[in-house]
Structures are given as C-alpha cells and as structure tokens.
Symmetry: C2
Amino acid sequence: MPLGEFELIDRFFREAGCRRGDVVLGVGDDGAILRPPEGFDLIAVSDTLVEGVHFPAGAPARSVGHRALAVNLSDIAAMGAVPAWSLLALTLPRADEAWIKEFAKGFSLLALEHEVSLVGGDTTRGPLMIGVQVIGFVPHGVALRRAGGRPGDVLCISGTPGDAAAGLALLAPDAAAGAISRRARGDETSRVALRARFEYPTPRLELGRQLLDIATACIDVSDGLAGDIGKLAAASGCAAIIDLERVPRSSALAALVRDGVFEEREALRFMLAGGDDYELVFTVPPENREALAELEARGDVWVIGTLVEAEPGTPHVTVRTEQPELQRYLDALPSSFDHFGG
Amino acid sequence: MPLGEFELIDRFFREAGCRRGDVVLGVGDDGAILRPPEGFDLIAVSDTLVEGVHFPAGAPARSVGHRALAVNLSDIAAMGAVPAWSLLALTLPRADEAWIKEFAKGFSLLALEHEVSLVGGDTTRGPLMIGVQVIGFVPHGVALRRAGGRPGDVLCISGTPGDAAAGLALLAPDAAAGAISRRARGDETSRVALRARFEYPTPRLELGRQLLDIATACIDVSDGLAGDIGKLAAASGCAAIIDLERVPRSSALAALVRDGVFEEREALRFMLAGGDDYELVFTVPPENREALAELEARGDVWVIGTLVEAEPGTPHVTVRTEQPELQRYLDALPSSFDHFGG
C-alpha cells in the first residue's frame, strides 16, 4: 500500500484532529491501543461511501469527509451511544493534496465537535471510496435497538425528512432540460438550506443519548422514512402507521414547492422515501409521554404516527392521510413502503 | 446500499460463523453491541485488499476471504493481542452467489479457528475491494509496539520470509515467455507450498501472545523483511543489522532455486524485499535469551540479526553477508532497504 497519502492525511488530521486521553497509541503502529471505560458496552458501526453511488461524482471534498463520518455517527446516535474512536479506509484515484486537505477538514471538524479520535486506517489507490468505522460507548445493557417498540408506542422523528433528497435533486438535476430549468428556480436561501442538508447532515448524538431514558426502539433515517420505519416495526414485531399530515415539512422544501421547483407529489416522495436525512426515528411508550412532551416543546421532535399490533399479511408500514384522493395514490403504491429506499 | 448481498453473506457467515458470548448484538441493527473484558486494552486494526493491487485479478474467492481476515489478524498478533470481533466492508462488482459463498468460507474458517465474530459491515456495488477491521484485547499496558527495541537486542523472525512473494510470482508469471516456461518447471510439491504461503498466510497469534513476556518490540512482515525491520528500527531509535546467512530459507524456495525456477538473486530479493509473508519480526533483550532459546528449540523462530546504536546518516537497516561479492551487490543497492516494499 502506498503510505504516502495516509501520511499526508495523518498530517492534516494531526493538525486539526482530536486527541483523547483513552487513546494509548494512535495511528502509526500495526494497531491502535485503546482503553475503554469500565461499566460500558462498546458500539461498533461501519459504513462505506462510494463516489457515484452515495454522493455525486465531483462532490466537494469537505462534504465527502463530513458525510463519511456523519453517517457513522448517526448510527452511533441511533444506539444512544457516545462516539470515541474512528478508523478510516480511504481509496483514492490519485494523491491530490488539495482534495485530501479539504476531505480531512470536513472529517476533522465534525470529529472535533464530537470528540472523536482517528486511531487508524489505510490508504489505497483505486476508485474514490471511503470506509469508516466508529466505536462508541453506552452504559451496560441500555443501548437502543430497532427491536423493543410495542403496540401503543408513538412514532417520533427528530427533524424534517426529505430535505436531503430534495437537496440531492438540486445538486444532480434530472437529465431533461425542462427539469433542469425548473430546478434552477426558487429562492436561493431555501436551495442552499436543502443542499446543506445533503452535504452536511447533522448526526443527532445529543438527542440519541436523551432517548436512552425515553425510547423503546430507535433507527436512523438513511434509506428513507417509510422503509426505515418498516425495519423498526419488523424488528419490534409490530406494524407502523404514519400520519402523513403530522410528518413535518421544512420551510425550505415548502418554499420550493410553492415556487414550482418541486411538485407536491415529488416532495411527498422525498419525505417518505428519500434517504440521507440521518434523523432519528424512535418509539415512545405511554408512560414516557411527559418526557416526550418536553422534547416536543423544545421543537426537537415530532410525533408522526403509532405502532400497532402486526396483522398477518399486512404491510409493516401504512401511510395514512385525511385526503381521500391522496390516500388512493398511497394505497396504489406497490403493497407497502417497505420497498422504498431499498 | 443494496442489502441483498450482505444478507447473503450474513447467511453464509451465520452457517459457519463464530458466536462469542461477549457479542450482545451482532449484525442487523444500526450498530453492534459488544462487551469488552475489564482490565484489558483494546487493539483496533484495519486493512483493505483491492483486486489487482493486493491480490491477482481472478484469485480464488476462498483465498481472498482468508487473506482479508489474515492480514488483520497478523496486525493483532504483532501487538501481542487476542482477536475478538471483526467488521467487513465488501465492495463487489456483482452478486455472484458462488463467489460470495467461497469468500465467506475462507473468511469464516479462519475466524472460527481464532474465535473471531463478524459483528457488522456493509456491502456496496463497485470494483472488488475488501475492507476488514478487527478488534482484540491485551492486558492493560503491555501491548507490543514497533518502538521498544534497544541496542543489543537480537532480531528474530517467526518463519521463512520470501515464500509468499515466490508464490505470487508462480501465480502471476512475468510477461516474458521465457520466464513463464521457467516458472512452470520445478517440483510440484514446492510450487504448491509456496502458492499456499501467498494464498493462505498464517497469522502468528499464539506466538504473538507468547512474545508479550519476551520481546521489546514487534512488527509483522507485510511489505518486505528489510523494509519492515527498518520501520521497527526507526520507531525504536536504533539501527538494525540483518545477517543474511541467518535468514531462514524454506526448503520449497530452496528446491525451486535448485530446479532453476528462480535465480539465486531473485530468491534473495523475495526474502529481503518480498511482502505478504505475515511472519512476525521481534526483538529480544539479553535477559530473555533463555526464553528465546526455548522458542528456537521448538523450531518456531530464528535469530537473524541485532539492533545497534543508530549512527547519524547511516541507514536504519544493513544486510551483512560473509560473501564479499554479494556484500558489494547489497551495498550497491540504493542507500538502504528502507525503500524496499514501499
């Protein structure tokens, strides 16, 4: 393996990186030596981003660095854990110092914010691909899982879904010239806000830790709201009902629908099936409604549905609306939203 | 990410995989929940294999699965640790069930042998690339490092270097037709043995743990003997002298030199600069010579040189021979063996 680039990255990371006291030995030996706290479980997560699959070719290096860490921190958040250490396996087509510097900046700024140390990894020449692993801590036996939700729990979300998919659509407009010109309309503040939701997602780490005391189950929205809720419901042995009118829409997405940049049904598709939001979806039992009300009052979370008993032969997710015509549209979608985001 | 292949892999791994009691929750949620033992440090290692770079295109899937885990276990061994958990980030050009099954078999058999659980990972479509991370344990504060060797320590190796490079040369003969026909000669048992040393390297985990009580520094030979010894010497602030006549040559490599498959200087280059052996190189101080003698008597290790004071302006590694003509050849090599295997 050519070590040159990793040394380059290591230099940028050392300049901006986070030094934790529990890292006995970091990058530079055969392995890192790490000292976990006693009384805690470890949470290990792993996610790979590939150019052209998980982000558009030519995406800004700083965004790529940010997202590569953020998608992993989001998984840590969904378990209610605190992140600590990261590993980076970077495959690069060439040693482009400016690109690597920006990549390291995007990664490091987020790592610093959440006190995550880069403790190892390697660099290989090949198509642009970023593999990241993060290890975090959670007190023994209390980590949040997808399983654990019960009928009667309410379904909640930590932010406005669909924004990242809308932002990605603005970055990579459809090939049709008409769509391109339509995409170019709309107020610039909203356009910038949606693009930022794709390029710089916010892992909900603080909320994840608060949910340890409140939630019965949790998942992060990476593949699409309805599909990911389907996974939580299936793991919990329940069915989920999403009340479409309760799913929050960001003012930015609403503005671009008003301006005609997106059609209404396009916006609904972003919200229900668009991925990359990295918001948390979680379930709260009746006895914790008061604690939930506090989070709602702070504007951090929205109740968007409920878990019910699973009926044999019915889908894990149903989206319900008060508008009969729209309900017919939703019902006509292939059997269930489980297929979305797959 | 298409989940299909990972579910496929997960199925093969579940059939043959290792279940550890300290894995509270494995593959299938946002993250794995792991319970580390108290009183231990964690060792985290990460290594990526790329088709055409780290193994020949079209290599047997079982070998690829074995090597992807073995190179990481070798890093764990070099720290004197016991492996426990692994993560797998697999990029595949297509979902080829037969290939995946063989890959999983190669990975799983080695994982079972060393009681390593696969606890997470992901699958992405793209050029064949395998990223593996392994986490292991070592008692607080005793992990072996590259730094720690002192002048007067003897340099040792756990096996015969150069075999893997010779095996790779047999697998991927030079383009020249003469070389191809030469490569096809030689006794088949030796050819098979050398190819196996490349395709199925043995991580020296048991020896690594024994070295905790004996060695001052350790590294695994992945990039080439002289270059890797140079890294150990540099990290230890010393210089290393390798006595060429003490470096063990396998009977298989010796046989193929006798048969004219490899020239003598080619064999020397494999031994000194060929990578992929995954043997351990370590340093032993005078006070532990007796314990070392026991390992030597078992035929597990060979003394091949010594650490000396580093002199300003001299290379970190010198290869010494009793044959004056060969010494001139070695001295004429560019400044030091540090460059080998880069």
